[in-house]
Symmetry: C2
Subunit: 336 residues, 2 copies
């Protein structure tokens, strides 16, 4: 990453994503200290960038997690990791064959006879058994894990262990409840692992990074950039990501900036603006009531509620240090 | 557009956008019959595609509407229209200069001294006065329109008329209320126009295409592809756009397909699936309860709740006719 400014913040065309360098580096260090090396398998889906993934590898986390074939193929092509987990199911034969032909070791999640057969047919070698530990999304029932593992092994696949995502716990602001649901989820996963075996028990998320004591590795994504939803949990990670916008209209009691539904993931609700009340968003607008005065042309920094679907709208991060823009980082792993 | 199949629907990698050719053509014809020629100024923001914009021009609508400089520059570069309205404010001097240097006639919305000055400084020649007619987003107060028009003319700008978006009315399912709010909004706009003059009174949307009788032209976007929010209004436009997804996991009482928050605009709520209840979405997943049985590997068609932010996640539409895929249409005007 460059150390000298390439332009100033107010020279950036808006809307665009900015990432503050200091909290970015602090987040990297905090996680590397808490979950060093292979204890943390960073999730590429949160930033979709080979450059940011490379920073996570440089922080000691050699194994990475991906949500899409595109992410896994991009990480493999960049030579960033020799242990890439595609923590999701797919039965697409063309994408599975592409994954099987990379030089990196790709491990894929399977949770059904069909996903086992598709992985084997494509020539993949490594799988984890995805177990539903209470989120009720993908994953087999815990009692099916052993049968699927045997099926996979009969199909020539190497079963590296089990995966179970405590997604129903990770966002809870009540820490006691988060801990309780995580423990219950991991009891199910440990039970499945006792039948399946293997060196990996992979789970988790940023929200349970300090209360999931049972997984051998945690798939943490949001910690690096953060969002307002995770900020409510009181974790030691700081909000590094913002959408920079320009005020384009000012009325009696509200203002409008040029950052809307096509620049922000909205599933977690409205974004936030410091010292302002955000009223609503439209395709290209955020409408807010500032606590002081703002002028047309002024820049505002908009804090997204959910990092992942926000990032997926953009093609680059600008790394900033105060008013200095020090680098442009491509979001090169978008799409599927 | 091709007439022979280039592949079959089940060969498409998912998630992806599909557009059914027959309702697409029907929507084009229905609008061209209701608002022929320049009565309709189609809004490019809904599809962000020069190919689909070209179909709207071929249907008789030579003048187009854009929401971003990128869209307007792309339409101008494609030589599609000699009358492009950028129906939004911007003060970005670089983008304004680029707009001023195109061969197309670009008209830009202004609603403040700052936006007038920025347009004049960049060398633009044509503007409309954007008036807040009740949506409370951009737009000057009606009583300011005359002063801004004079300011613009003193700055050497040609004021083509007024713009006012009745966005607070367009989505109302109660037709009487939609008509009432549209009439009240247009009374404000007509009042401003009586002071400003000019040949253009531009307003509207798909939702008021048949009840806004006062504007000289209507900016209709959603009619071409449609979404479930607009479907509730009982308009004669049919849902042509869907997200094609693949079932990747099936459990006792729910199934999961590979189309999530990064493939769907979520501000209008959950998408819909025919003969299924959609429970929720995650980054790469839609979780639903099918009324019958579904199998891993099956394709499902997901109806987005809001067309514009859904399209902005994708790089192409596949045009389909039943099970035949007949063309790929690039979404080439993404970004800003």
């Amino acid at each position: 990453m460059a150390t000298r400014a390439i332009k100033r913040l107010d020279q950036l065309a808006t809307p665009c994503l900015i990432v503050e360098e200091e909290p970015l580096r602090a987040n990297l260090q905090t996680m590397a200290a808490a979950l060093p090396g292979l204890k943390c398998r960073p999730h590429v889906k949160a930033h979709k960038s080979t450059i940011l993934a490379g920073m996570q590898v440089a922080a000691g986390h050699r194994a990475l997690t991906c949500a899409t074939p595109r992410e896994a193929l991009g990480i493999a092509a960049a030579g960033l990791s020799d242990d890439v987990l595609l923590a999701n199911e797919t039965v697409d034969p063309i994408r599975l064959a592409a994954l099987a032909s990379t030089k990196a070791r790709i491990t894929i999640a399977i949770d059904s006879d069909e996903t086992v057969r598709a992985a084997a047919r494509a020539g993949l070698t490594d799988v984890v058994i995805d177990v539903d530990v209470g989120l009720h999304r993908c994953g087999c029932r815990p009692e099916e894990a052993a049968r699927l593992s045997e099926l996979a092994q009969r199909g020539g696949l190497n079963v590296r262990g089990v995966m179970g995502y405590e997604g129903h716990a990770v966002g809870l602001t009540d820490r006691g409840e988060r801990e309780r649901l995580t423990r219950e989820a991991m009891e199910l996963l440990i039970g499945a692992h006792s039948e399946v075996g293997g060196e990996i028990i992979t789970a988790g998320a940023t929200g349970t990074y300090d209360c999931n004591f049972w997984a051998t590795e945690l798939q943490t994504g949001s910690y690096l950039l953060m969002d307002t939803a995770y900020a409510r949990l009181g974790l030691p990670f700081r909000q590094a990501l913002k959408v920079l916008a320009t005020v384009i209209s000012v009325s009696r009691s509200w203002a409008v900036a040029d950052c809307g539904l096509k620049a922000l993931g909205m599933d977690h609700g409205l974004p936030a603006i410091h010292e302002a009340a955000v009223w609503r968003c439209a395709d290209e607008h955020v409408i807010f009531r500032p606590s002081g005065t703002v002028a047309v042309g002024e820049k505002v920094q908009v804090l997204p509620a959910h990092v992942d679907p926000t990032v997926a709208y953009h093609d680059a991060f600008w790394i900033v240090n105060g008013e200095d823009v020090i680098d442009r980082v491509a979001i090169d792993l978008r799409g599927w």
